[in-house]
């Protein structure tokens, strides 16, 4: 018995303790009717809504739409901001010139930019994606630039002394050297893009996506549906983060070593 508790079995179960406790408390609260049952349905009812949403309903459809918007925004941000960050980071003078602008817009809540983007791009797909890309892009930009600036100079020197051209030093050494920090930026960037896309789906004339689904469920007081959608958004956020961590571990095997 002691072996089982302290062995591999117990180790595998440890991470589940919090989740089980959370669901138990939820069930207890619903069963004791601590909160109005309309507002807090039981875990079983929510689980059924999740199941129905994934299997028969269009929760999965909305989820895919949100994923698509998030990844599109993220992709645009990466394509534009990684090269830009490399450029800014490799010249201290250039970075100093733009530091204030980057810091300013990074500190400006991206959601405050919706009206501006609405005026420019109209009420459509592009506004949602553009604002998310903008916010994610700044995170990626300054993280990449920092990665380059704080990269240890010895490896670049080693490549130079072996006769590598500046371009080759940049692509073969500096880029890789800054990759761990760039990944930090990409990971926060993708989470941020998801936040912005969901907010956009809620409030700027959307007919699909998880954000719109949450707000619709709330308006018609379909609480199980609302919880199911929130859960879906949670799974999505967690999943994206997890995927990034896995990619990071695979490709930046040298990180922290």
């Amino acid at each position: 018995m002691k072996d089982i508790l302290s062995g591999r079995f117990a180790n595998a179960l440890t991470p589940a303790v919090g989740a089980v406790a959370f669901i138990f408390l939820w069930w207890l609260a619903a069963w004791l009717k601590v909160v109005d049952p309309v507002l807090l349905p039981s875990p079983q009812a929510s689980a059924k809504a999740i199941w129905d949403g994934f299997v028969g309903g269009n929760l999965i459809k909305d989820l895919i739409i949100t994923v698509r918007r998030t990844l599109l925004a993220f992709g645009i941000a990466v394509v534009i901001c990684v090269p830009l960050g490399l450029m800014l980071g490799s010249s201290v003078r250039l970075y100093r010139s733009f530091e204030f602008v980057i810091d300013f817009f990074r500190s400006t809540p991206a959601s405050a930019l919706f009206p501006l983007f609405l005026v420019i791009l109209g009420v459509g797909e592009s506004t949602k994606v553009a604002v998310a890309a903008f916010g994610a892009g700044l995170l990626i930009l300054f993280n990449t630039a920092y990665g380059v600036m704080n990269a240890r100079k010895t490896r670049q020197a080693a490549a130079r002394v072996m006769g590598a051209s500046p371009l080759r030093v940049m692509t073969g050494v500096t880029l890789l050297e800054s990759l761990p920090q760039t990944f930090v930026g990409m990971r926060s960037g993708v989470s941020f893009a998801l936040v912005i896309v969901i907010v956009a789906e809620m409030f700027i004339g959307s007919t699909d996506g998880l954000g719109q689904r949450v707000i619709n469920a709330q308006m018609i007081f379909n609480m199980p549906e609302m919880y199911a959608t929130i859960f879906g958004a949670g799974v999505l956020g967690y999943g994206l983060n997890l995927i990034f961590i896995l990619i990071e571990r695979r490709f930046i095997h040298w990180g922290g070593k």
Binding site: T154, A157, G163, W254
Partner: protein
């Protein structure tokens, strides 16, 4: 007027000038480094030993002056450089073997040539560990061996070594000194070694370049002509002790000069 150049000179440094934040480190510094010999550079802290080899190797700009290799510029010369901190000098995203091939790739060698040269290095270094590992999976000594192999891959005309063994333990240091000596005997590559260990500086060198405090000049050049290969016993020989005592005397004089000056 330019100083005349000694006949067996490989590297001629003329008018080297460098200052940091207004403090002159080198002013119009001239130096000849002989071909096919190991020159150790030794001097008080902050006299710019590493700065000098970094300028000659093109890693740091000179304020003025030039360094020529047999009359050629740096760009026309194949050099190798071994850094003190192997952990920061090897590419952790490449396997050890690909680190060694890197300078060959840069030089535009074919895959076959890269493989052949690497195999040759593995043979001559008698490598027993797996070069398909990543640098961070190797011990410190193995990593520095890989960096030395990388620096030699392209058959450099000059090899710069910046305190190459100072991060290794004593056993590994002794082993690596002898390895370096073997390479030197086999290739007669001109080597410039910066060391902060006087025993090592003398043990490996044909000549020890003793530097003054800044603004840096050459205090003295001490020859050490003991036959190669040298062994740990060399460290206790009379010739070694004489050369070392001479270096020490110069060194202490330089350190004292500072005390009087300040």
């Amino acid at each position: 007027m330019l100083k005349r150049t000694a006949p067996d000179t490989h590297i001629t440094i003329r008018g080297l000038t460098k200052s940091f934040a207004g403090h002159p480190l080198y002013t119009n510094f001239d130096l000849d480094i002989p071909k096919g010999q190991i020159t150790s550079i030794f001097g008080p802290n902050g006299c710019g030993k590493s700065t000098m080899i970094n300028m000659v190797a093109g890693l740091l700009p000179m304020d003025a002056g030039e360094a020529l290799f047999d009359g050629k510029t740096l760009a026309q010369t194949v050099i190798g450089y071994v850094f003190q901190n192997y952990r920061d000098a090897l590419f952790p995203w490449k396997r050890a073997i690909d680190n060694i091939k890197y300078p060959l790739r840069i030089a535009g060698k074919s895959k076959g040539e890269c493989d052949a040269r690497t195999e040759e290095l593995v043979q001559s270094f008698d490598i027993r560990f797996d070069l398909n590992r990543y640098p961070y999976e190797l011990s410190g000594g193995q990593q520095q061996l890989v960096s030395i192999m990388r620096s030699l891959a392209v058959h450099p005309e000059v090899l710069f070594l910046d305190e190459p063994f100072s991060a290794l333990d004593y056993e590994m240091t002794l082993f690596m000194r002898d390895k370096l000596q073997d390479i030197f005997e086999a290739t007669k590559t001109t080597m410039i070694l910066v060391s902060h260990d006087l025993d090592e500086a003398v043990y490996l060198a044909d000549q020890v370049l003793m530097l003054t405090r800044r603004p840096t000049r050459i205090a003295q050049v001490v020859r050490f002509d003991a036959a190669r290969p040298r062994h740990p016993e060399t460290l206790t020989s009379d010739a070694f002790n004489r050369a070392k005592a001479q270096c020490l005397e110069v060194f202490q004089r330089e350190v004292r000069t500072k005390d009087i000056a300040t």
